[in-house]
């Protein structure tokens, strides 16, 4: 049977077919849909973890007990899980364990463009890279075979174009994977130095063995074409190269660590000019050069950004080919950008507006609310990584000591649970006076509204204990905790003023559900009474996409306005009123 699946759905299908019984993840674009798709299979215990490190640790336990386990994360998530990763390669995973790393070349939805293939080399674990959805399904199953045979976690590395592209997949039935009786093996599973020293040589030896294993035949595609041009490639770049230069000879790696060295030598001898086409870093190129094989690579194909058929064509044929064929005037310089914006009625907008008004320095974090950094709000000074806002606020406050510009950390509920809690413990312990604002919209909004421990719901839709953020903050020892409704701007400003002058650490929980979860208008659309409006521009500073300015005229688009009333509360002239009230007045 055939189906059209995204790469993420195909990985979920592969996990199902491989007999996986446990899967965990923390949501992160472009990996999120893997666990969402796995959750549809009753045979698999699928769950959201508070962060990627915990996800990998639970999977390590499941695998230690003999069950097949899968974890998925975006590229930066693997940084969080790196601590267990490096040692898990020593411990092994008797049931089989696959770690999916979804990298984001082009940074469609990420804060950096790191190439996680280096993790495979650094942590010494095998890595597979599918090039489309069908391979995503097949390689997931192969990864479990390898994991089990060599007692090592396997990295399945995908990119945004694999994760979010759909292509045709053949479906196969599930093969149950019986769980063997548990065997205690502390020499391999308790990583004392005395044990780990014995394991390290095994790791080096197995990578050598793997590079000549028969499984390489299932992973590698060699296409004999023109003997002048040989292309060594992997992942989606293979398809771009096929499109651009179908007559070339191809060596497509499915396993990119370790590499099938003997076959690479054979291929290199069979072609005159070799191009290495890979996205991001010269990961393959440097290793192939180290074998003594002459290749053309990153001098022709960019390290920065995502590849596409045009960039591959320019690398192979030179930049001029395209221009000669299509010499019309460019249209690109006059096109206004369309940056992502806060949704109309977003509860975060009012908090940023107030923080800016009170001249806070704001350390930000990862989530929808990072959009508070963009104009017109422009109310954020930094955004580094998940949970960083809290520690950074403390550091900034220690150095700045400027009462005119107090320091506030701004972090979402899901991000706070992911990795903000330890930061807050540090602020309590070391006596920081910073303000921590937790934007609690009751969901993981940016990645598509996944539940988390603070929601009281699980990935499979069951109800569970609901973490109480307020009680948690008090238990950590935060001296001043309060909850505000972010739509009540006056209350928000008063709370921030109290926190600013408290002389001790304050947490403000700004609590209102994500407007997209509400799925309803909060009130009648608002209208601007142009008799009262003095064109002061304050309403536009809220960044609400429903408010627009045409010359000196301001208007609210009734199709977009959800009636949250934030703009009416921000307008000092009381020129913004509910359309219901306006009708009554008329």
């Amino acid at each position: 049977m055939k189906a059209l699946l995204s790469g993420n759905e195909a990985i979920a299908r592969g996990a199902y077919e491989a007999g996986v019984i446990f899967a965990s993840a923390y949501p992160g674009t472009p990996s999120t849909e893997i666990l969402e798709a796995i959750a549809h299979y009753d045979e698999i215990q699928a769950q959201w973890a508070p962060n990627e490190k915990v996800a990998l640790e639970t999977a390590a336990g499941a695998s230690l007990a003999g069950g097949r386990a899968l974890v998925a994360m975006k590229h930066v998530g693997l940084n969080v899980a790196a601590d267990p990763l490096f040692s898990l390669v020593y411990m092994g995973c008797p049931g089989g364990l696959v770690i999916v790393s979804a990298d984001d070349p082009g940074m469609h939805s990420s804060q950096n463009e790191q190439d996680n293939r280096w993790y495979a080399r650094a942590a010494k674990l095998p890595m597979l890279e599918p090039s489309d959805s069908q391979e995503a399904r097949i390689f997931t199953k192969l990864a479990f075979e390898i994991s089990e045979k060599y007692n090592t976690p396997v990295l399945l590395r995908i990119t945004t174009r694999i994760a979010h592209s759909s292509s045709v997949v053949t479906l196969e039935p599930r093969a149950e994977h019986p769980i063997p009786p548990y065997q205690k093996n502390s020499e391999h599973h308790v990583l004392l130095p005395v044990h780990a020293r014995k394991i390290h040589p095994e790791i080096e030896a197995r990578l050598q063995r793997l590079s000549r294993d028969a499984v390489m035949q299932k992973c590698t595609t060699i296409l004999r074409g023109n003997s002048d041009v040989g292309i060594i490639t992997a992942g989606v770049a293979f398809h771009y190269a096929c499109e651009v230069f179908p007559e070339a000879s191809f060596f497509k790696l499915g396993m990119t660590h370790p590499m099938p060295v003997d076959w690479l030598f054979e291929f290199a001898l069979s072609v005159r000019n070799i191009f290495v086409i890979e996205e991001l870093d010269p990961f393959l190129e440097e290793q192939i050069r180290a074998l003594g094989i002459e290749v053309t690579g990153k001098d022709r194909f960019p390290v920065v950004g995502e590849l596409n058929p045009d960039r591959v064509r320019q690398g192979l044929y030179g930049p001029e080919t395209e221009k000669k064929e299509h010499s019309h005037e460019p249209v690109s310089d006059e096109i206004p950008p369309r940056p992502p914006v806060f949704c109309p009625g977003c509860p975060h907008a009012g908090m940023f507006w107030a923080l800016k008004k009170l001249r806070f320095r704001v350390t930000g974090d990862i989530g929808c609310y990072t959009l508070g950094a963009l104009p017109p709000l422009a109310a954020m000074d930094s955004c580094l990584n998940m949970g960083a806002s809290i520690g950074m606020a403390e550091g900034m406050e220690r150095v700045l000591k400027d009462s005119r510009h107090p320091v506030a950390a701004v972090i979402g509920d899901s991000t706070f649970i992911h990795s903000g809690i330890t930061g807050l413990i540090d602020l309590v312990y070391n006596g920081s006076h910073a303000v921590v604002v937790i934007l609690d919209n009751g969901t993981t909004a940016m990645t598509g509204h996944q539940p988390h421990p603070g929601t009281g719901r699980t990935l499979k839709g069951h109800s569970t204990h609901k973490l109480d953020i307020e009680q948690l903050c008090r238990a950590l020892g935060v001296p001043h905790v309060e909850i505000v409704n972010p739509y009540h701007l006056d209350d928000v400003i008063q709370a921030l003023k109290r926190a600013k002058s408290a002389g001790e650490l304050s947490v403000i929980i700004s609590r209102a559900p994500c407007i997209l979860l509400e799925k309803r208008r909060l009130g009648a659309p608002l209208v601007i009474d142009m008799n009262l409006c003095k064109a002061c521009n304050v309403c536009l500073q809220l960044g609400c996409p429903a408010i627009e300015r045409v010359g000196q005229q301001y208007r609210i688009d009734p199709a977009f306005c959800v009636g949250c009333g934030l703009c009416a509360r921000g307008c000092q002239l009381r020129a913004i009123v509910s359309s219901d009230d306006m009708m009554i007045m008329n």
């Binding site: 759909s166 292509s167 096929c242 006059e334």
Partner: protein
């Protein structure tokens, strides 16, 4: 390796929230139902928050790249005029553009920092063989829901692709929950009959630019 015979390339573009991902999915499933190889590329996450959205759909005997190269798109369904202009370089000179004339102002225009470009239709028509501009949002409102503009577009496109109508029915049923199917199928039919009704010439004979105002 043998070059695959002709692949059909379709760009769907617009603003996050306009139903572009759904329209792309229905088109791709229809191609699969027609027995073709198909690939579809899109991006989720940050860009969906009211940002510019583009989906690439490619189908044919065998499809390699999920992304369409410059000047290779045969069709563009532009759900918003400015987005047609933004992705115009994808269009082949013998391609067809369908534009929804309903503007959605981007943030720099809303706050008065930049102007919304003028003459979009004439800029686009210089680059392609065939351009059809309609107000799909108004048409969708008349059907009962402004959100089904995406199905009107698919209905128009369907006339140019030659898949049997039953395949479209199947694809719509596979991608849309049963409670919403009736209005979406009506919107699709509206789009499928629209050009013949308004222009009274068979689709294949349409050349040049048609601006249909209501």
């Amino acid at each position: 390796m043998k070059l695959p015979s002709e692949t059909t390339n379709v760009i769907l573009c617009g603003v996050g929230g306009q139903g572009i991902l759904l329209a792309g999915r229905i088109l791709a499933v229809a191609a699969l139902e027609a027995g073709l190889d198909v690939k579809k590329a899109e991006v989720h996450g940050m860009a969906q928050r009211g940002g510019s959205v583009i989906t690439h759909v490619r189908f044919g005997e065998r499809v390699f790249s999920p992304l369409i190269a410059s000047h290779q798109a045969h069709f563009m369904l532009a759900f918003e005029p400015l987005e047609a202009l933004r992705y115009l370089d994808f269009m082949s000179p013998d391609g067809t553009i369908f534009i929804n004339q309903q503007k959605i102002l981007p943030q720099p225009v809303r706050v008065g920092k930049m102007a919304y470009p003028t003459g979009i239709v004439s800029k686009c028509k210089k680059r392609v063989h065939r351009l059809i501009a309609i107000n799909a949002t108004h048409n969708a409102e008349s059907i009962g829901d402004p959100r089904v503009a995406n199905l009107i577009f698919l209905g128009m496109l369907s006339r140019f692709l030659g898949f049997p109508e039953s395949i479209w029915q199947k694809a719509i049923q596979a991608c849309i929950p049963s409670t919403k199917q009736e209005i979406n199928i009506r919107a699709f039919q509206f789009g499928r009959d629209f050009l013949m009704r308004r222009l009274s010439i068979p689709e294949k004979e349409i050349r040049g630019t048609y601006i249909i105002t209501s």
